[in-house]
């Protein structure tokens, strides 16, 4: 089990992402995951061994290190990366669920399970919101735990069993500060990308819905049956579902060439 598993899972999500989603994936893979594995992990490798307090009292260094670093920055960083990447799996799971349903019923229920319409659109939207939530949450947690993003070279500690206020020196504080800021900047960039993607998705859906409403005023739907609603699949938006409750009725609806009528049966 290693970061390769996360990389493979996220690569699967790439297929169902928008253009901005793919840019987000590239940034996560290259500027966050790769930098973490090839550089950042090694900076914090010997952090406790090289943490030195100006005292010979046994236990003082341990207690002070534990107080200043309840969780190591590099471990928090790795948790951050995992939590931020996993909402993309919701999309993969949704598509797998749709494909599973089609297999079970042995008929085509969706135009294409991977097209971003209907349920998948909502799942994608939720995954974006959750991703952003995690990004902002972890940044705030980082800030609160370490009193900012700057790593000082010296900390004063007077916890028991330290006999007085002692000076404790952190190893490689400048390098750690540089990588911390790198993490924060890439995180903020990912937040901006997620917000942009979210806005674009909502805006596109809004425009499509407005256009659909506008075009429908010039169509004759011909059906007064309140059980039937018209569906247009394969378009981004929140389409209405066709439910054939009234199979005993003779229904004649003028066929639009680009519309595909699907039966979403109530047996499920």
């Amino acid at each position: 089990m290693s970061w390769m598993l996360l990389r493979d899972l996220l690569s699967g999500a790439n297929k169902y992402s928008t253009g901005i989603g793919r840019i987000w994936l590239v940034i996560v893979f290259i500027f966050r995951l790769l930098v973490y594995i090839v550089a950042a992990e090694h900076v914090w490798k010997d952090e406790q061994k090289e943490f030195e307090c100006n005292i010979r009292q046994p236990g003082c260094e341990n207690v002070c290190f534990d107080y200043f670093f309840p969780i190591s920055q590099v471990r928090l960083w790795s948790l951050h990366l995992i939590m931020v990447s996993t909402p993309s799996l919701l999309v993969v799971l949704h598509v797998a669920y749709c494909e599973g349903r089609e297999k079970r019923h042995r008929k085509k229920l969706y135009v294409s399970p991977g097209t971003m319409d209907g349920g998948l659109w909502y799942t994608y939207l939720i995954s974006l919101i959750v991703k952003n939530g995690f990004e902002i949450g972890f940044l705030l947690l980082f800030y609160k735990l370490y009193d900012g993003f700057n790593v000082p070279y010296l900390m004063k500690c007077d916890l028991k069993p330290c006999p007085n206020t002692v000076d404790c020196f952190i190893s490689k504080p400048t390098e750690k500060t540089i990588f911390t800021f790198f993490l924060v900047i890439t995180s903020c960039l990912c937040i901006v990308l997620n917000f942009t993607e979210l806005s674009l998705l909502v805006l596109r859906c809004f425009i499509k819905c407005c256009l659909q409403e506008y075009s429908k005023t010039f169509e004759s739907s011909g059906c007064e049956c309140h059980h039937l609603k018209y569906v247009e699949c394969g378009e981004i938006g929140a389409p209405r579902l066709l439910q054939s409750h009234c199979s005993s009725f003779d229904i004649s609806i003028p066929q639009k060439p680009e519309a595909k009528l699907l039966c979403n049966s109530q047996e499920d």
Partner: protein
């Protein structure tokens, strides 16, 4: 996720690169990434452990090490390699977008005479012209900027590319000016010079590639203007000739039908 994955991603761009671009990719991965992973990591592995200062004052060693090495050489090289490789992704994204558009047009029946099937589109080598030329040139430009930038940062941070065997440090809490000794300074200098040389070679390759692309465009444009200059009314002459041919053939037809059977 490791250097192998980056190699796979950048290797995909290789197909659409010029010959100089392919040489550049080889130099990057063999003479820089591989050297960094198999050799440099070992040399710098114990850099802080074996950094020794001539004092027992706790904290002095930490502070002096931090002052002289704000960022470790290997981390800076790793960042440099990542930043220098990523502009190639611009080209990869452009090619992916171009293929996506071609597939869309093919599905609408627009370019069926050019390609047999979708696999043909995926296998096609995209030529570096038009908007891809601009993307490719921009990526080379950014590569040069990043290489030069990192080389300058290196020079600025470490006061040159040579590592001394002793450093004098008098920063608090060190009680006085103490001698601090770096581990393996000669070996580190050798590898630093090697990596800088590889960086210079990569930069020269990028400059050569940029010049090659610019010359190619200038040559193509001059060829086009020369063709237009030699045959200024070529198009007009052609259409006039076509009309005359039609008239001649019509008259010939009439002449034939006019013969008594």
């Amino acid at each position: 996720m490791d250097w192998g994955t980056l190699h796979t991603v950048i290797g995909g761009v290789n197909k659409h690169s010029t010959s100089i671009g392919k040489v550049w990719i080889t130099v990057i991965f063999i003479f820089r990434v591989m050297i960094l992973v198999v050799a440099a990591h070992e040399v710098w592995g114990d850099e802080q452990e074996d950094f020794v200062c001539n004092t027992l004052q706790p904290g002095c060693k930490n502070v002096c090490y931090d002052h002289f090495f704000p960022v470790s050489h290997i981390r800076l090289w790793a960042l440099q390699l990542i930043f220098v490789s990523t502009p190639a992704l611009l080209v990869a994204m452009h090619v992916a977008y171009y293929r996506h558009e071609t597939v869309r047009k093919f599905r609408h029946g627009e370019r069926t005479n050019e390609f047999k099937d979708l696999e043909d589109i995926k296998r096609q080598k995209v030529r570096i012209e038009g908007s891809l030329w601009w993307t490719y040139t921009s990526s080379i430009f950014f590569r040069i900027i990043f290489e030069a930038g990192f080389m300058y940062v290196f020079y600025f941070l470490y006061n040159g590319y040579h590592l001394p065997w002793v450093l004098k440090c008098g920063i608090d809490p060190c009680p006085n000016l103490v001698d601090c000794f770096i581990s393996r300074p000669t070996e580190k200098t050798v590898f630093t010079v090697f990596m800088i040389s590889a960086s210079v070679i990569c930069m020269l390759l990028n400059v050569a590639e940029l010049c090659y692309l610019l010359l190619k465009v200038c040559f193509r444009r001059s060829k086009r203007t020369q063709t237009q200059r030699n045959h200024p009314n070529h198009a007009l002459k052609e259409s006039t000739q076509n009309e005359m041919n039609e008239l001649i053939s019509d008259r010939g037809q009439n002449a034939i039908t006019g013969f008594p059977s």
